[in-house]
C-alpha cells in the first residue's frame, strides 16, 4: 500500500466500516440483551420493583402521577412497559400488540374465577393487578416491541457506544491527517527557503521510509532545486571567470600604456590620458564584479570583528561631507545611538559609503543628506541606519530591483556618474552576509535607503 491514493482510500473506508460496524454491533447487542433477559432474574426483580412503585403511586389514587411515572419509565427502559386496563387500553395510549392482548385476556379470565386479589392467587407476582379509582390495571412488558428505532430514540442507551466510536475514529483521522500533511508542510517550508535564495534546500532525506506521491513530489523538488542551483552556479561562475580572465589583458594594457608614456611623445598625451582613464574604469568595474562574485559564493571568508557602528558611521559621514560640500550639498547625522555589531569593517564601510555617496549624488543642490542610526522600531535587537536624500526619488516599481546588478534608474544620470549599477547590488550582498537587510522607499521628495542589522549578543 505505497500510493497515497490507496492510503487515503483504504483508511477512510476502514474507518467508516469500523464506525458503522461498531454502532450496529452495539445496538444489536443491546436488543439481544433485552430480549434474552425476558426470563432472567434481573428482569423479574426489575418488574417487581416497578410494580411496587406503581402500586405505591396507585394508593394515592392520582392517575396523573401514575401517568407521569409511566412516561419516565418508558424513557429509561429499552423494553416498553405497558399499563393496561381490562379492555387492553394502555394508560399512555400506546399500541398494544395482539399477543399482549391475548395474554391479558388469559390473565383476566383466570382472575375472574375468584375476585380475590390475594397474592397466593398469582404464582407470578408481576401479574397482580394495580387498582386505582377502582379500575384494574396490569403492568406488562412488551418484548415484541423492542425495536431498533425505539433504541435509537433513547439517546442515553446508545450515547456511550457512539462516543466511543467517535473518539476512536477521531484518533484514526487525526493520525491519518498528520501523516498526510506533515511532509507537505516540510515541502512548503523548503519551497519558501528556496524562493528566498537558499538553494541548498533538499527534502527527500526527511521523508524516511515513505514511498508515495508526496515522496515523488519531494524527489522532483530536489531535482528542481539541484538544476536551479547548477544553473545559477554556472551563471555566477561565468561572471567570475570572465572577470578573472579580463584582468590579464587589462594588466598588460596598463603596462603597455606606461611604456608609451615613457617614450614621451607630447602629441599623444591627451589620448594616453583618455586611455588610462578608461582602463581605470574597466579596472574598477572588474573589481566590483569580482567583489560581487565573491560575496555571492557562500564561501566568502571575511574577518569578523566587533565594530562600533556609530563611530564608523561618523567617520564615513565626515569623509563624504567634505566631498558633498564641494558640490553645494551636505551630509549630516540627525540621530545616533552607540551600537556595536559583529562584522567586517571593510564590507560595512563600503556599504555605508555606497549608500551615502549615492544619496549625495541624487540629492538636490543646497540640500542635505540625512543619516540616522537608531534602534529598529519593528524588530527588537535590531538597528536601522536610514540614509535619506532630497532628490527625485525613484519609480515605485524599481524599489526592489535597484539592488540587482546592472539595474539603473535612468540611463543618462548614471552614465555621467560613472556608475555601473553594481554598488547597491554589492551593498545588498554585503548586508545579507551580516544577516541584515537593505530596503529602499520613496519618502516625500526623496529616497530613503534603510539598512538593518541584528545585534548579536
Amino acid at each position: 500500500m505505497k500510493s497515497l491514493f490507496w492510503k487515503i482510500f483504504v483508511s477512510f473506508w476502514l474507518a467508516l466500516i469500523l464506525f458503522a460496524g461498531l454502532t450496529l454491533w452495539i445496538t444489536s447487542y443491546y436488543i439481544e440483551k433485552s430480549r434474552s433477559e425476558t426470563d432472567t432474574y434481573q428482569l423479574r426483580s426489575n418488574t417487581i420493583e416497578y410494580l411496587k412503585q406503581a402500586r405505591d403511586i396507585a394508593q394515592t389514587n392520582d392517575i396523573n402521577a401514575l401517568r407521569l411515572w409511566l412516561e419516565q419509565l418508558d424513557r429509561r427502559e429499552t423494553i416498553p412497559f405497558l399499563l393496561l386496563d381490562e379492555n387492553a387500553n394502555d394508560l399512555l395510549n400506546r399500541d398494544v400488540s395482539l399477543r399482549l392482548q391475548q395474554h391479558l385476556r388469559r390473565l383476566e379470565r383466570r382472575s375472574r374465577h375468584d375476585d380475590d386479589d390475594d397474592e397466593h392467587e398469582y404464582p407470578r407476582p408481576h401479574h397482580r393487578p394495580i387498582i386505582i379509582n377502582n379500575q384494574r390495571y396490569r403492568l406488562m412488558p412488551d418484548f415484541s416491541n423492542v425495536t431498533l428505532s425505539r433504541v435509537l430514540n433513547r439517546p442515553r442507551i446508545i450515547a456511550t457506544p457512539i462516543l466511543l466510536a467517535a473518539i476512536i475514529s477521531a484518533i484514526i483521522c487525526l493520525l491519518l491527517a498528520r501523516y498526510l500533511t506533515a511532509p507537505i508542510g516540510r515541502l512548503r517550508l523548503a519551497t519558501q527557503k528556496l524562493a528566498k535564495g537558499d538553494l541548498d534546500q533538499r527534502v527527500s532525506p526527511s521523508m524516511g521510509q515513505r514511498k508515495d506521491e508526496i515522496v515523488e513530489l519531494a524527489n522532483d523538488f530536489d531535482y528542481m532545486a539541484e538544476q536551479l542551483q547548477a544553473l545559477i552556479e554556472s551563471h555566477k561562475q561565468l561572471l567570475r571567470d570572465a572577470s578573472h580572465e579580463l584582468r590579464s589583458p587589462l594588466a598588460r594594457l596598463q603596462v603597455a600604456l606606461g611604456l608609451a608614456r615613457q617614450r614621451g611623445d607630447d602629441k599623444t598625451t591627451k589620448e594616453l590620458d583618455r586611455i588610462e582613464r578608461e582602463a581605470e574604469r574597466l579596472n574598477e568595474l572588474i573589481g566590483q564584479l569580482l567583489t560581487l562574485a565573491r560575496l555571492d559564493t557562500k564561501t566568502a571568508e571575511v574577518v569578523i570583528e566587533p565594530i562600533e557602528l556609530n563611530e564608523l558611521l561618523e567617520q564615513i559621514v565626515d569623509n563624504t561631507a567634505y566631498e558633498a560640500r564641494a558640490i553645494n550639498r551636505d551630509v549630516s547625522i540627525v540621530e545616533t545611538v552607540p551600537v556595536t555589531i559583529k562584522g567586517n569593517r571593510l564590507l560595512l564601510s563600503s556599504v555605508l559609503e555606497n549608500a551615502i555617496r549615492n544619496a549625495i549624488h541624487y540629492t538636490d543642490e543646497n540640500t542635505s543628506v540625512e543619516v540616522s542610526l537608531q534602534n529598529d522600531n519593528e524588530k527588537s535587537d535590531w538597528v536601522a541606519i536610514t540614509v535619506r536624500d532630497h532628490g527625485p526619488g525613484i519609480p515605485d516599481h524599481m524599489l526592489t530591483s535597484i539592488f540587482e546588478p546592472f539595474v539603473r534608474v535612468g540611463e543618462a544620470r548614471d552614465r555621467q556618474s560613472g556608475g555601473y549599477g553594481l554598488g547597491l547590488a554589492i551593498a545588498k550582498r554585503a548586508v545579507e552576509l551580516h544577516g541584515g537587510e537593505i530596503t529602499a522607499a520613496n519618502q516625500g521628495n526623496g529616497l530613503s535607503i534603510v539598512i538593518r542589522f541584528p545585534i548579536k549578543k
Binding site: S243, H244, R247, S248, L250, A251, R252, L253, Q254, V255, A256, L257, G258, L259, Q262, E276, E280, N283, I286, G287, Q288, L289, L290, T291, A293, R294, E301, V302, V303, E308, E311, Q315, N319, R345, L346, S349, S350, E353
Partner: protein, 229 residues
C-alpha cells in the same frame, strides 16, 4: 640600480614590466613559477621581491612563507582584485606591502620606492642616537636590529620601521596617518588594513610587556601608542 626579482606567470606582462621598470631605474630578473621564485630569492641578493599570488607549482603565499623562514628581504605581493582576504593573509605571513592586480605601473613603482626607502637606512646616524632602548627592547639603528631581552628578533623592514616610529614616540599616540606617512612612506587610504596588520604582527612577535601590559595599544579612532614602562 636596485636589483629586483619579479615573479609572475604572465610572461608577456613580465617582459613589458621589465622594460618599464628598467626605464625607472630598476634592474629586474623575472621568474614565472613559485619554485623558481623561491630558489632565486634565496640564492641571489635582491633588494625587493615582487610576488604574484597566483603562480604554478607554488603559489605566492607558500613562497613567502618559506622565504620568511630564511630571509627578511622586502616583499611586495600582487594580489587578485576583489579578494581582500588575500591582502590580509599576505601581510600576516610577512609581506611588506600589497597591490591589487591589475594595477597602474606608476602606482607599482611608487609602492616599490616606498618599500626601498624603508629598507635603506633613512635616519642619519648623526641626528639621533645610534641605539634606541626602552624597557626590555633595544633598537640598533645602524644594523637595523631589534633585541628583545638581548635576544635578536627577526623582522621585516616594514615592521622595523613601524616599531622605530612607535618607539621614537613611546608614551605618545601616533596617528594612523602619521604612522603611514613615516613608516610606510605613503598616505593612509580609507580601507587600508596594512598598518593594522603590521602592528598586529609586531604584537605577536614581541608579546606583552613584562608586567603583562599591552605593548602597543590601539587608541580607537586615532592611532597607536607604544607603552612606556
Amino acid at each position: 640600480m636596485n636589483r629586483i626579482l619579479l615573479a609572475d606567470d604572465d610572461v608577456e606582462l613580465a617582459d613589458m614590466l621589465v622594460e618599464y621598470l628598467d626605464q625607472e631605474g630598476f634592474e629586474v630578473d623575472t621568474v614565472h613559477d613559485g619554485k623558481a621564485a623561491l630558489e632565486k630569492s634565496l640564492t641571489e641578493n635582491y633588494e625587493l621581491i615582487i610576488l604574484d599570488v597566483m603562480m604554478p607549482k607554488l603559489n605566492g603565499f607558500d613562497v613567502l612563507r618559506q622565504l620568511r623562514a630564511h630571509s627578511q628581504v622586502p616583499v611586495l605581493m600582487l594580489t587578485a582584485r576583489g579578494e581582500d582576504v588575500d591582502n590580509i593573509v599576505g601581510l600576516e605571513i610577512g609581506a611588506d606591502d600589497y597591490l591589487a592586480k591589475p594595477c597602474n605601473p606608476r602606482v607599482l613603482v611608487a609602492h616599490m620606492r616606498a618599500i626601498l626607502r624603508r629598507s635603506e637606512s633613512t635616519t642619519p646616524v648623526s641626528e639621533t642616537a645610534d641605539i634606541l632602548a626602552i624597557g626590555d627592547i633595544e633598537l640598533q639603528r645602524g644594523a637595523r636590529r631589534v633585541l628583545l631581552n638581548h635576544q635578536p628578533q627577526t623582522m621585516t623592514s616594514t615592521e622595523y620601521r613601524v616599531l622605530e616610529v612607535l618607539l621614537e614616540n613611546a608614551g605618545q599616540v601616533v596617528t594612523k596617518q602619521d604612522l603611514s606617512d613615516r613608516a610606510l612612506g605613503r598616505e593612509l587610504s580609507p580601507y587600508d588594513r596594512s598598518l593594522d596588520m603590521h602592528v598586529s604582527n609586531l604584537r605577536k612577535k614581541l608579546g606583552p610587556l613584562a608586567d603583562s601590559e599591552e605593548r602597543i595599544k590601539t587608541i580607537r579612532g586615532v592611532g597607536y601608542q607604544y607603552t612606556r614602562p
